[in-house]
């Protein structure tokens, strides 16, 4: 056992949500021990910042058809158009600046991933906590649903939903929430089952607090660490899934391409040597997922002592 596990252990034995010596500080010192994870965290911060600021920092709005021209199509990275304007990452078949396209695509991907993750988090966690807290019939109904969902591969479920609902950002988010909520529910339930037996929960009952208050103000904060780990995994998962659906042509509309769609568009030009249309957006997607996974891995190690020895 190393020193890094200390804070988590002491907190568990204390059985109180917030201990006196800031758990965040010790968490942070644990987290920052790995240089790889720190690099990934910095990378992730940069990616999220670039995605958020895309409209400000990109040379072009790639979703505004009046700003792009077919006359500039298929320029290689670093190529100049007739007026001498340079495209650092080249252009695609519509004359869209790839740098702008990738940043906007990243923005879409990150937004879809985080937004669907938040909804799934709230939905799944609420159901998971309810299952653990109330037990009995509520528990078995909810857990049957969880098993049902987890019994089927995400891609199949998402494909079915999108086939029925059609294309569009809102539909993709619905599909991703339906795919993800069960993972949060399962994690929340197993964490809450441990908490339920503890004295402080008993104490809230004696004090006559409402169920809602007990669940959300007292049990939930103690269940957060495993949920955060699930969250990072699921956001990465959601981003890949959205990209895959868009790549298959059942995701987002072509006027506002996400990374998956940019890759799909470039696919047909690969044999004729115009690799950049497909390759660079894929690289951006890959680096994003990698950073999230590296951060998630370290979080798992720091927050969950049983997986580390």
């Amino acid at each position: 056992m190393t020193a890094r596990e200390h804070s988590w252990r002491s907190e568990e034995t204390a059985g109180v949500a917030v201990s006196a010596d800031s758990p965040f500080r010790s968490f942070w010192s644990d987290f920052s021990e790995s240089p790889v994870a720190m690099a990934a965290l910095v990378g992730l911060a940069l990616i999220v910042a670039a995605a958020a600021l895309a409209p400000v920092i990109t040379p072009q709005n790639p979703y505004d058809l009046a700003e792009i021209t077919i006359l500039d199509s298929m320029l290689p990275p670093g190529g100049k158009n007739l007026e001498g304007k340079r495209y650092w990452l080249g252009t695609d078949d519509q004359g869209r600046d790839m740098l702008s396209g990738i940043l906007y695509g990243l923005r879409t991907s990150v937004f879809v991933g985080i937004f669907s993750g938040i909804i799934a988090f709230f939905l799944g966690t609420t159901l998971g906590l309810m299952a653990a807290y109330f037990g009995g019939a509520i528990d078995s109904v909810i857990m049957r649903l969880v098993d049902l969902k987890l019994g089927f591969p995400s891609i199949l479920v998402a494909l079915l939903i999108v086939t029925v609902l059609g294309k569009g950002m809102d539909k993709i988010i619905i599909a991703l929430v339906i795919v993800q909520w069960a993972y949060y529910a399962r994690a929340a339930r197993s964490a809450a089952l441990v908490e339920r037996g503890k004295e402080y929960v008993e104490a809230t009952r004696i004090l006559g607090l409402s169920h809602r208050r007990t669940i959300f103000c007292h049990i939930l904060p103690n269940c957060l660490p495993p949920l955060i780990v699930v969250g990072t995994v699921e956001v990465a998962h959601a981003i890949i899934l959205e990209a895959t659906l868009s790549f298959l042509g059942v995701g987002l509309p072509i006027t506002e391409p996400s990374l998956g769609l940019l890759i799909a568009n470039g696919y047909q030009y690969m044999l004729s040597g115009k690799y950049w249309i497909s390759f660079n957006p894929g690289l951006a997607l890959f680096v994003t997922i990698l950073c999230i996974n590296l951060v998630g891995d370290q979080l798992r190690d720091v927050l969950n002592p049983r997986l580390r020895r």
């Binding site: 098993d147 891609i155 199949l156 690969m270 497909s278 894929g282 997607l285 997922i289």
Partner: protein, 324 residues
């Protein structure tokens, strides 16, 4: 015990019925197939005539019962594109998908378990850390993009391997297999690598975690203390104990792989079930879509049922918690 199995069986049947209704409503919502598929030259009278002939003028619930009635007899209608029985089309494509999925699973077990063992036994060594970094890369790479890069490098730039298709096949008991010919094998290389990426990363992680847990247990320490050779310790004591759960998880992965075939098969033009469902979505070949979805749901329900029943044999507590 019997009660538990009956109960699970009943749940599965209810599930299938619910899914059949959902799939039917979903596909029905896409639109009338005659409007979608008929030639531009058809007159409105012609369209009405064919709708009546195919039974699309009936109310929704009546159409559903007609559908369920024939589905129970294994008849999901005929493909709108080539007129062949839809379920037959789906089942015919199963061997191609299975061939690729099993190949990928073998690769991931053969490569993943030794690597995971190394990483688990000597976690601090740079080689182990490199293996773990590799497994994170495997988890993080979008498979469709990896497939494109593989095609670009090995298919287009170097020209070493074919970029798609199944290659030459051999007929074994009425099933076409690729891996028995050199040409077929060459066609399998790139899709198998793409396919194996995720399960290999998973196998590495599972093996490593299992190994690290087990080497700390007393019996391994005793074995070492007794002076048994390291080789014997690893192969007899460690491997024996971690293999069962890993193989179980990897077995379940087969089902997941089959559904991810949608992506790999589309890119490599591999004529399996995944490519069939994408093609039929594009062509709005309703009977094939329905047959595929129902078949997939049926298979997964079956897998889940078998897993649950097996576990309940192995661990009686599950039954008890079910009955609580």
């Amino acid at each position: 015990m019997t009660f538990f199995i009956l109960r699970r069986l009943f749940q599965s049947v209810v599930l299938l019925a619910v899914v059949s209704l959902l799939v039917f409503l979903a596909v029905f919502a896409i639109g009338n197939p005659v409007d979608i598929l008929i030639n531009f030259d058809a007159t409105p009278e012609e369209i009405t005539r064919i709708k009546r002939q195919m039974g699309f003028h009936l109310p929704l619930w009546q159409q559903y019962f007609v559908f369920i009635g024939s589905a129970l007899q294994g008849d999901f209608g005929n493909s709108f594109i080539n007129g062949a029985p839809a379920l037959k089309l789906v089942v015919e494509r199963l061997p191609a998908t299975l061939e690729l999925a099993i190949a990928a699973l073998l690769v991931s077990v053969v490569a993943g378990i030794p690597l995971g063992l190394v990483a688990g036994l000597r976690p601090r060594k740079p080689s182990s850390q490199a293996i773990m970094a590799g497994s994170i890369l495997g988890f993080s790479s979008p498979s469709f993009w990896v497939a494109l890069v593989l095609i670009l490098v090995f298919g287009v730039q170097l020209g070493w391997l074919p970029t798609g298709g199944r290659g030459e096949t051999v007929d074994v008991l009425g099933v076409q297999l690729s891996f028995l010919t050199a040409d077929g094998l060459a066609h399998m290389v790139l899709p198998t690598i793409t396919f194996a990426l995720y399960p290999t990363a998973l196998a590495i992680r599972l093996t490593r975690a299992g190994t690290r847990e087990i080497v700390l247990l007393d019996f391994v320490r005793f074995a070492r203390a007794k002076g048994l050779s390291e080789k014997r310790v690893i192969f007899v004591h460690v491997l024996k104990n971690i293999l069962v759960p890993i193989v179980t998880v990897m077995g379940v992965q087969l089902g997941i792989l089959i559904s991810y075939a949608v992506v790999t098969e589309t890119i490599f033009a591999w004529p399996g079930m995944g490519k069939l469902i994408i093609d039929s979505i594009y062509l709005v070949d309703r009977p094939v879509m329905v047959a595929f979805l129902m078949f997939a749901v049926f298979i997964f329900t079956l897998i889940n049922l078998i897993v649950d029943i097996t576990y309940s044999f192995l661990d009686p507590r599950i039954r008890i918690s079910e009955l609580r």
